[in-house]
């Protein structure tokens, strides 16, 4: 599926109406005026059809939805930290968010060898940190050794060590960096897209972020806690455009800390900010009504909503409910009874699509296009339940033991869309005699229930895949993993299908052939759809707001949707953005 894309540049082509009037006056004998007008129009069309030359200058303004917890790029775990890290950090390899292909950055080139056990980087020369210090192989070695330290618990470093065995880093005599894994590491390039190269000097200055030397297009100039972060261009940034002009084009970026999305939208409508990265459907529709050109729907994203049932044997829920949740027919029936098309149409206002499987079609390579779309069929759902031993009497579904089928669905509070999804599921299940009780909890309480005491029955949460590669999801699919949603931390797989998924995931993690990996992961997706331990409800669209004054804007479906190419963004009229 190709992403729907709204053109980023609105070019006004003058002359249409004037040209018509000019033709009409020809009849009155004023043909010199007509010729002049036509020539003028032609010149305008020609100049308008040439892309505008990017102009340097201006200040880009947008909002962070929370205070960054850290400016250490190796410990950036939450969205605000990652945004600052993305804007200020240099990486060896960067994934192009539009094409989803890997491109060289601080590494001029790289090479995989030894059946995927080694990756070798040739570093770019002449690169400097923002303080003028030279970028060398020792910085890469320092970064990798720091991030690979298990005591650090780095969200960037832990994925390197998710396989078995140690990871070693060394420098060759020709200056190339070699990272060696004890077992083949499939899809290893993706790990370096998140790994910001830093130096010991930089990490020493974490308490004074304005003094941290960086390799990215911007550096931190000011930080006012709870209020804003000001980034200014890195004077030594290595990248240049095709005309040899040093990047980035935009002089500075002001990140305001703004938690309320309503206020964020108001500020955008007033022109106080230039973009909103990631919007909900309701805000998007309001924006589209007022400023249609600014509303950008890049198509289906990697974000979705999912529901799963608690299958943990030791959970303190009633035994009859455990039995229901362990039944494939029960889960499949619930899946059939949920109207996903309505969820996408009503809650997300058409800015979402029914989900098919665990991988959104936005993941161009890894999504399994052969999976059948889920069918909404309450009658078939009821028939399946009856075949499994349930019976509908007096409008209430009962199991073999006569227990009324009633269970709770927990979700996090404060998310309006999710509350609405839960409400609609409640109505759908009521049609087949199932009573669903919605319980909204604050996030801390919810995490405690789903990871510690397992005192819950079913859970509705969002799913965000920031990494396309299935190896990034090992901690979700392996039955022994802590993030295995429906039954985490199993000493041994409790079902044959979970054992099969374990085996397939381990195989794809070390398989050098992408084609073979795809086949293995396709099979995982097929099993998950068949067994339905998790019901995938909707895949949401990537919605953003972009000011018309920005050029080179091409919103993508991958994070960060709007400013993934920040160094190439420019203002058509930089002087108009000075504050």
């Amino acid at each position: 599926m190709t992403a729907r894309h709204v053109p980023g540049c609105v070019v006004a082509i003058p002359g249409g109406l004037d040209g018509g009037r000019a033709l009409a006056s020809c009849a009155a004998g004023q043909w010199p005026a007509v010729v002049t007008a036509l020539l003028f129009s032609a010149c305008c069309c020609w100049s308008a059809s040439r892309p505008a030359e990017p102009v340097a200058g201006g200040e880009l303004r947008f909002c962070l939805r929370a205070e960054p917890r850290t400016f250490d790029p190796l410990m950036a775990a939450e969205e605000p930290d990652e945004i600052v890290s993305f804007l200020t950090g240099g990486v060896l390899i960067r994934m192009n968010r539009l094409t989803q292909a890997f491109e060289p950055e601080l590494a001029e080139s790289w090479r995989l060898s030894d059946a995927g056990r080694k990756i070798e980087f040739k570093l770019r020369e002449g690169v400097r940190f923002s303080d003028g210090a030279a970028f060398t192989a020792s910085d890469v070695l320092y970064t990798l050794r720091t991030v690979l330290d298990p005591a650090r618990h780095s969200p960037v470093g832990d994925p390197f060590r998710n396989g078995s065995g140690a990871v070693t880093v060394s420098e060759r005599t020709d200056g190339r960096i070699v990272v060696a894994f004890s077992a083949p590491a499939a899809g290893v390039e993706r790990l370096f897209d998140q790994l910001v190269i830093t130096s010991a000097r930089s990490l020493e200055k974490l308490a004074r972020p304005a003094e941290m030397p960086v390799l990215g297009p911007y550096r931190i100039a000011e930080y006012r806690a709870g209020s804003y972060i000001l980034l200014v261009r890195n004077p030594h940034y290595w990248k240049k455009d095709a005309a040899g002009q040093r990047l980035p084009y935009i002089d500075s970026i002001r990140l305001s800390i703004q938690q309320n999305r309503e206020l964020e939208l108001i500020r955008f409508l007033r022109g106080q900010i230039d973009l909103i990265n990631g919007m909900d459907a309701e805000s998007f529709d309001r924006l589209a009504a007022k400023q249609p050109a600014a509303a950008r729907d890049a198509g289906r994203s990697l974000e979705g909503e999912q529901l799963w049932f608690n299958q943990v044997a030791r959970s303190p829920i009633p035994e009859c409910r455990k039995e229901w949740f362990r039944s494939r027919d029960f889960r499949r029936a619930i899946s059939q009874a949920i109207n996903r098309a309505d969820l996408a149409r009503v809650v997300y206002r058409g800015r979402a699509a029914p989900a098919i499987g665990p991988v959104s079609p936005a993941n161009l390579f890894w999504s399994n296009a052969q999976l059948p779309a889920p069918v909404f069929d309450p009658k078939a759902a009821l028939a399946r339940l009856v075949a499994a031993g349930f019976a509908l009497s007096g409008g209430t579904l009962r199991d073999r033991g006569g227990h009324a089928v009633e269970f709770s669905l927990i979700t996090n509070s404060g998310n309006q869309s999710r509350d609405r999804v839960a409400s609609m599921i409640q109505q759908d299940l009521a049609r087949i005699g199932i009573r669903l009780n919605i319980v909204t909890l604050d996030f801390g309480s919810l995490i405690e229930r789903i990871t510690r005491n397992f005192n819950y029955e079913s859970c509705l949460l969002g799913l965000v895949n920031v990494d396309l590669d299935p190896s990034a999801q090992m901690n979700v699919w392996l039955s022994s993993a802590a993030n295995h949603p429906w039954n985490p931390g199993q000493p041994a797989p409790q079902t044959a299908w979970e054992a099969e998924i374990d085996s397939l995931m381990r195989a794809q993690a070390v398989e050098p052939s992408q084609v073979r990996r795809k086949a293995l992961f396709d099979r995982v997706q097929a099993i998950v759809l068949d067994q339905a331990p998790v019901l995938y409800l909707v895949d949401k669209d990537s919605l953003s707001a972009v000011s018309g004054s920005l050029g080179n804007m091409s919103p993508a479906v991958l994070h960060p949707q709007t400013f993934w190419n920040v160094e190439r963004l420019y203002f058509r009229d930089p002087k108009g953005t000075q504050h």
Binding site: P150, I447, T451, N475
Partner: protein, 293 residues
């Protein structure tokens, strides 16, 4: 007077200490304490997730924890915030002036408006005025502070501290107005006021000398409660108005169960509530001999 002050401050200190212990106990025993959101992040290794869970599993008893915390406070160490990764003292020092300014301005405006409206209500004594004033107060009581904040931003085009101060003023005003009007109405029916009115005393002098003065101690008693109301209002308002104050900090600390930060904020609020309560008591005239205080 000095004895009263010492006595009052001692009880305030004891109250603050007990308040801190209760707050610490409530936070520690509430669900979700010790839970780390990183546990849901599939990037982390099993080993890392085990490490995230360990501190909450090896919890020390609340009383030794609190005593240890108080010992550190006495040496100037307020602890490190686990959610912000910064010293609590630094965070509070950064944010306190913002809240002090917006809550202070909000309280001042709210009290001024409330008292003026209450005095006008007593002076005018017309049903129409009462209905209108009562209706406005009722409307302000019924509007969620988040909506008030959004109205300030949308219509008033105000942000940050000015919007926060305005919302706090509108939250405090109806409470002050209602209570002050009740007190002033009762005092204005006192025999000495009726006598003064019958003797032809001018309305302004009547109000200031004979109504407001006797009612002042009772009205001032609302000060302590209104400080708490203002701070409670500051929490959602600062979050909405993008004002980096203590309210915003308290909200984030509550969501993340940040115990060191929450205890310190509780102690600070207790101190302010206690001091304003004591100030209200000090403003009260001393009891007549033979009458209990």
């Amino acid at each position: 007077m000095r004895t009263r002050l010492v006595h009052s401050m001692t009880t305030v200190v004891l109250t603050v200490l007990v308040g801190g212990l209760i707050a610490a106990t409530l936070v520690r025993d509430a669900p979700g304490y010790g839970v780390d959101e990183r546990e849901l992040d599939s990037r982390y290794s099993q080993e890392s997730i085990r490490q995230f869970r360990e501190p909450s599993q090896a919890r020390q008893s609340i009383v030794p924890f609190y005593l240890h915390y108080l010992t550190r406070v006495l040496s100037g160490d307020l602890g490190i915030s686990p959610s912000f990764h910064r010293p609590v003292g630094e965070l509070i020092a950064e944010r306190f002036p913002e809240t002090a300014r917006s809550a202070g301005a909000g309280l001042a405006m709210g009290w001024t408006l409330g008292m003026l409206a209450a005095l006008a209500g007593v002076a005018v004594a017309r049903p129409g005025f009462h209905m209108v004033a009562g209706g406005v107060a009722a409307l302000l009581l019924c509007l969620p502070s988040s909506v008030l904040a959004l109205i300030f931003v949308l219509v008033g085009r105000m942000e940050g501290r000015s919007a926060a101060a305005g919302v706090i003023a509108l939250v405090v005003f109806p409470r002050v107005f209602r209570y002050a009007r009740a007190i002033l109405a009762r005092v204005s029916e006192s025999p000495h006021v009726l006598m003064a009115r019958a003797k032809g005393l001018r309305p302004v002098r009547l109000l200031c000398a004979h109504v407001l003065r006797p009612a002042a101690p009772a009205v001032a008693a609302l000060l302590g409660a209104s400080v708490s109301v203002a701070f409670a209002a500051a929490i959602p308002v600062e979050v909405l108005c993008d004002s980096p104050g203590l309210g915003q900090l308290a909200w984030q600390a509550a969501l993340k169960r940040d115990l060191p930060l929450l205890i310190n904020i509780t102690l600070l609020v207790s101190v302010f509530a206690g001091i304003s309560g004591v100030a209200g008591e000090m403003a009260r005239p001393r009891p007549v001999a033979g009458e209990k205080a």
